[in-house]
């Protein structure tokens, strides 16, 4: 399954085919993530979780999706109809677009762009426009507060996500994701960059969780404060788009972390002598997804353990602690790279 394509050479049909495959895979993956979250939540909460639809409840979210598709699309009378309807697509499309640049394994990458990391940061900040639009256009006070919180939160934490990735770019010297992985054949970046890389990883995970609006940073929804936040007035499939986008965003944040810090589809160094990857290159997908899901689990762990921050504490954390730390960390990383103190295997 070689999907590495050169846009100039390949025709429209090829592109559409790939788009369809990606769309198909990731709507299913999104549903699976929802199921995973529910199962993980259940394990944390002394429950069983979904276990009635299909074996181990595997088809539960499929059934939920079917239900949502068949539901009536309600809305408020005084909503700004155009923006109201546009918002969910903004959110879902921006998160699906981000998926295009990930290298799932060697040669399995839809769009190997030379500004990969930059593209990811840019595209993931478009999603917030959808949330702002949704909150504003639905003409609901709770939704508006939720949307405003989202704007504040995403703009703040965007900085930390960006800067922590920039720290790692200092180490790789490239923004292209395939090359970032190439660099890591000498050791995962979290090993190569040791102390500053670990700091960058921690900041990235905190800021990444905040950027996906997940607990403990779920100000935007904060069901005990705002009911449902920005998507209060959405129902049916439009709500499902928001919901799905949240989970795909979580996947994206984890996938970026897996690619940039943990070697992407590369197998652990101690397995290289066995030569499995040479015989069977597709095993890279396993490693990539394994690392990603480990990080996704970490984010779920956060969610089901921590209480929520208050909105001003959220901003204090970013502007007073994470951002200065991040800037210092960049200097530290630059020093380490300059002095050649990286660990190469």
């Amino acid at each position: 399954m070689i999907l590495s394509i050169n846009i100039v050479e390949n025709n429209m049909l090829n592109m559409l085919l790939i788009a369809a495959i990606y769309l198909g895979i990731f709507s299913v993956a999104g549903l699976f993530l929802v199921l995973l979250e529910r199962k993980v939540a259940a394990w944390f909460q002394l429950r069983l979780g979904p276990n009635r639809v299909g074996p181990w409840g595997l088809l539960q979210t499929m059934a939920d999706a079917l239900k949502l598709v068949s539901k009536e699309l309600t809305g408020t009378v005084k909503a700004d109809k155009f923006l109201y309807n546009l918002a969910p697509y903004f959110v879902i499309i921006s998160s699906l677009m981000a998926l295009a640049v990930f290298p799932f394994t060697q040669e399995f990458q839809a769009f190997d762009i030379n500004i990969g990391i930059f593209f990811l940061i840019a595209i993931s900040s478009i999603g917030v426009i959808g949330i702002l639009l949704g909150g504003w256009a639905s003409n609901n006070k709770f939704a508006l507060i939720g949307a405003m919180r989202s704007g504040v939160q995403t703009i703040s934490y965007e900085l930390s996500v960006g800067l922590s990735l920039v720290t790692m770019v200092l180490l790789t010297g490239t923004l292209q994701l395939s090359e970032i992985i190439e660099v890591q054949k000498n050791g995962w970046l979290i090993v190569q960059g040791h102390i500053p890389a670990i700091i960058a990883f921690m900041i990235y995970m905190i800021a990444g969780t905040a950027e996906t609006n997940r607990a403990p940073f779920d100000m935007v929804e904060a069901e005990s404060e705002l009911g449902a936040g920005f998507h209060t007035e959405y129902s049916g499939m439009k709500f499902a788009y928001f919901f799905l986008a949240e989970f795909i965003n979580m996947f994206i944040i984890a996938a970026i972390a897996a690619t940039v810090f943990f070697g992407g589809w590369l197998e652990p160094a101690w397995l290289t002598p066995l030569g499995i990857a040479e015989v069977f290159p597709a095993i890279g997908v396993f490693w990539f997804l394994g690392k990603t899901f480990a990080l996704v689990f970490l984010m779920m762990w956060f969610r089901w353990t921590f209480p929520r921050l208050r909105v001003d504490q959220l901003l204090t954390l970013e502007w007073k602690y994470l951002l200065p730390l991040n800037l210092l960390n960049i200097v530290l990383m630059a020093l380490i790279v300059w002095l050649g103190l990286t660990i190469q295997i």
């Binding site: 944390f44 705002l226 921590f306 209480p307 929520r308 921050l309 208050r310 909105v311 504490q313």
Partner: protein, 373 residues
């Protein structure tokens, strides 16, 4: 602001939001009309009555045995203690001495009710500040208590176990053993609660210094229960106006002086320990004897006014009966703890954020049917 022409010409309106009556944080059908400035609360105005059933008016047509059952539906999390309050009032009015066995059993079940109520409060408290897992931990332990109740009283929530003159029936043979099992179990679980929520940095930041209520205000607002004790106002009815078997046990009144949400939280956690200790002191020494004394089928209270206060899980519940000597009370008033505690919400929430309002409201532990009655 006549001098400031620029400002006087600007038309500005307050931003209102309706919190409730179907809002997750109000735990029932309480409606709060919030005036906010961005995230900051300027005014909180409670609007009550969504579950008002006029229990006081209904009591005026009911017999005293029937009234006991109505009280379950007020503060449904302390239903046993509510029942006890009415029974004690009637018994005092009739000058009826109930057997020691009844007193001890009432106290044990009352304290179990308190723990069950605090378990539920702890669960939803965590949920209100965004920690969803606490809910299930709280319910796991509450479930054990409910099972004990189910076996003895036949009901899990609205127990109707008390009747004027004693108890409806004797305790189940398993009661003592299961209660002891629960006490042993729960002693290992409160530290778990602390580990999961109390010690969490985010939780501490959310609660410390939020919703501060001074001791003077607590008294002036008629606060009672853990809300008042978090402000350093010693008001435990079990201490000052002891009833049932509470004079036979030693326990400490949980007191904190900070007056913030965290203090109210810690008082409740401490109260669970104290309740466990009360149960432990009584459970091995339930006196033998009858589980009720005979009363007339139609209870007629002597002419006069009778007042009894008890300490429910939320604070001081008062029952005021004005009797004209007939089989119904002429006027019956319930002084509910939640009603007074709610009245101070505006006072502690103004100036805070929306998140603070939710956090402080959670530590008030409001049960809406108790407020509306």
């Amino acid at each position: 602001m006549d001098t400031n022409i620029a400002n006087s010409n600007l038309k500005s309106e307050d931003y209102f939001i309706n919190m409730g009556p179907q809002h997750p944080a109000t735990h029932g059908v309480l409606r709060l009309l919030l005036t906010i400035d961005g995230e900051i609360i300027k005014k909180v105005e409670p609007d009550l009555g969504y579950i008002h059933r006029s229990i006081e008016k209904m009591c005026e047509r009911d017999s005293y045995q029937q009234i006991v059952h109505l009280t379950d539906r007020m503060d449904y999390l302390s239903s046993h203690i509510n029942n006890e309050a009415v029974c004690l009032t009637v018994e005092n009015a009739l000058q009826l001495e109930v057997p020691e066995r009844v007193k001890v059993i009432r106290t044990i079940i009352g304290e179990l009710t308190r723990i069950a109520s605090h378990c539920l409060w702890w669960g939803v408290m965590g949920m209100d500040v965004g920690a969803l897992t606490t809910y299930f931990y709280g319910f796991r332990d509450r479930e054990m208590i409910n099972d004990i109740f189910e076996e003895t009283c036949g009901a899990r929530l609205t127990m109707n176990y008390n009747i004027p003159g004693g108890l409806m029936f004797d305790i189940h043979p398993n009661f003592v053993k299961r209660t002891k099992d629960f006490v042993a179990h729960f002693k290992t679980k409160i530290p778990e609660y602390d580990k999961l929520l109390t010690g969490n940095v985010i939780f501490q930041k959310r609660m410390k210094g939020v919703g501060i209520l001074s001791k003077e205000d607590a008294i002036s607002f008629g606060a009672s229960g853990p809300v008042a004790r978090g402000s350093g106002y010693s008001c435990d009815v079990r201490k000052y106006h002891s009833y049932s078997a509470l004079d036979k046990v030693t326990f400490n009144e949980a007191l904190k002086t900070e007056g913030d949400s965290l203090a109210r939280y810690e008082v409740r956690i401490q109260e669970m320990w104290e309740s466990l200790s009360i149960i432990e002191q009584l459970i091995d020494n339930i006196p033998e004897g009858e589980h009720k004394v005979a009363t007339n089928a139609v209870i007629k209270l002597p002419k006069g006014e009778f007042y009894q206060k008890v300490e429910t899980a939320r604070g001081e519940l008062g029952v005021f009966i004005n009797s004209t000597g007939t089989k119904n009370p002429y006027r019956l008033k319930f002084r509910s703890p939640g009603f007074s505690n709610l009245s101070l919400l505006n006072h502690i929430a103004v100036g805070g954020k929306i998140g603070d309002l939710v956090a402080s409201m959670a530590t008030l532990d409001l049960v809406i049917p108790d407020i509306d009655r």
